[in-house]
């Protein structure tokens, strides 16, 4: 049995979501190949070849694959599918976009967002915003799976796989790329950060959100997240959102500031190693999942925290 992992490319390298998906793939089979897509992706393919346990890397080099658009990715992956028993991708917005398209083209039921590989055909995945876990067994000959990266450890570096060119297949009717607006930040990426500080609606305005959260994040070397309420209110951009409908994070330390702890937020951070809640409402549900709770107004607590951190 052979498994194909679709890499999460980041310019000249691949994100560690790729390494985590390789770990899930290695639980299925020892024969794991990685597909790197996009124009000028040689350096990224070489980076993927260094992941331990990878058999070979396929590089599909084409401008049509530049933005990982679903129609183009699906056409190329479907053509490679006969050589594989399972196709895996991290459950990023790209993976969530193209994997079901691949599954339908192969007449396969996709298995979304798995958090555990039980056996080669049985997987665990969260449903109902993480309020239940479903163990499913697939009867499809081929499996199409997205992997929740925070649920798996990253495969180590130290491999030396070969890199081969993959055939790029033209897609049929496709959406075309117009533009993108990516948030630039020197801070670690939310999904990969060791420490995440998250702000809620209590912060009251976009100015206050940044005035409070940014210095704290910089002091801790942390990524900044936000609750859905803070994002909906316009205090933080949408890609800051931590929760079932936003990003799912599992850092070593998660600090929730002025966040009440709605079910949908908890679903996005409850697998963090240590959770800290700072909220002036002692009855806020966030305290029920926090390892350390500080009942205080953030206006008092955060300056004191900054001082205590030195």
């Amino acid at each position: 049995m052979a498994v194909l992992v679709i890499a999460d490319r980041d310019g000249d390298t691949v994100r560690d979501t790729t390494h985590k998906t390789v770990t899930a793939a290695l639980a299925l089979s020892g024969d794991v190949d990685v597909l790197v897509l996009g124009e000028g992706s040689k350096a990224a393919a070489d980076a993927a070849a260094k992941i331990k346990g990878v058999r070979k890397v396929l590089q599909a080099d084409s401008p049509a694959l530049g933005h990982q658009l679903a129609e183009a990715v699906a056409a190329t992956v479907v053509a490679l599918a006969p050589g594989y028993d399972a196709i895996l991708s991290p459950a990023t917005t790209d993976g969530k976009n193209f994997m079901p398209r691949i599954a339908a083209a192969l007449d396969v039921a996709p298995i979304s967002d798995i958090i555990e590989v039980v056996s080669a055909d049985t997987f665990v995945r969260p449903i109902y915003a993480g309020n239940a876990l479903e163990t499913v067994q697939s009867s499809d000959g081929k499996k199409v799976i997205t992997v929740r990266p925070t649920a798996f450890t990253a495969a180590e570096e130290g491999g030396s796989a070969t890199v081969e060119a993959a055939k790029v297949v033209d897609a049929g009717r496709s959406a075309g790329f117009v533009s993108e607006e990516m948030v630039k930040s020197d801070r670690p990426e939310l999904g990969a950060a060791r420490i995440v500080v998250s702000g809620g609606r209590a912060l009251g305005s976009a100015e206050e959100f940044h005035a409070v959260m940014d210095p704290l994040a910089d002091k801790l070397g942390a990524a900044v997240g936000a609750s859905r309420a803070a994002v909906d209110a316009g205090y933080a951009p949408n890609d800051y959102q931590v929760g079932q409908t936003g990003k799912v994070v599992a850092p070593a330390l998660y600090i929730a500031i002025g966040i009440s702890g709605a079910i949908q937020h908890l679903a996005g951070m409850k697998d963090s190693k240590i959770i800290v809640a700072i909220n002036k409402d002692p009855d806020a549900p966030i305290f029920q999942v926090a390892d350390f709770g500080l009942v205080a107004d953030y206006k008092v607590a955060i300056p004191e925290l900054m001082t205590a951190l030195g």
Binding site: L69, A103, S112, Y128, R173, N238, F292
Partner: protein, 254 residues
Amino acid sequence: MKVLVPVKRVIDYNVKARVKSDQTGVDLANVKMSMNPFDEIAVEEAVRLRDGKDHHAAGTATEIVVVSIGVTQAQETIRTALAMGADRGILIQSDADLEPLAVAKLLKAVVEEEKPDLILMGKQSIDGDNNAVGQMLAALLDWPQATFAGKLVIADGTATVTREVDGGLQTLAAKLPAVVTVDLRLNTPRYASLPNIMKAKKKEIAMKAVADYGVDVADRLKVLKVTEPPKRSAGITVADAAELVSKLKTAGVL
């Protein structure tokens, strides 16, 4: 432009799902059910496309057809969409909870009958959380797809969609017909007014059966068990920031 909006009846957004003690699923007996919140956003956008709201010119959409696949009570979900402003409904009755692949196949058959120019639908349902049907339907139809829409502009037979993606926003243009799945921030759905609720009672809902469409809806996945996630328990309350920092240092995370 004719718009097809698939909607699903799911556990209400504000109700906490409880796992059955025999681990066969989530207990839905006597639980409040509602339209999937993402689908409500899709219905709202379709109505705005027809009536002219935000940047949409009135008449951009000319007819809005709502389709649901589910139990008889899913008629209520369709009525909600009709009360919001959709024109007519189709219910494909099924007591079985069909998988996304089967749903996509049934919707494809509906598309072949109805011939819509745009399919607007929620990006995922809040029960199964698969986030798959829109993409699968687009694949089966060989139509372009634009998922996770935070903004939609229709002009000259093209849907220009700003998508909410990891790291920011991405804008795509898809020639119609196309499938667009919607994200939370596209709009805020309206509450239906009483006169519109009354009017919706007179709108047509066509009742169909899965068998009418002659597609294979067999399950591919067998649910072996449904369990509760491991619970986190509350920890300790600290007195101040200084104590917090010292605890975090002891825990080895600072």
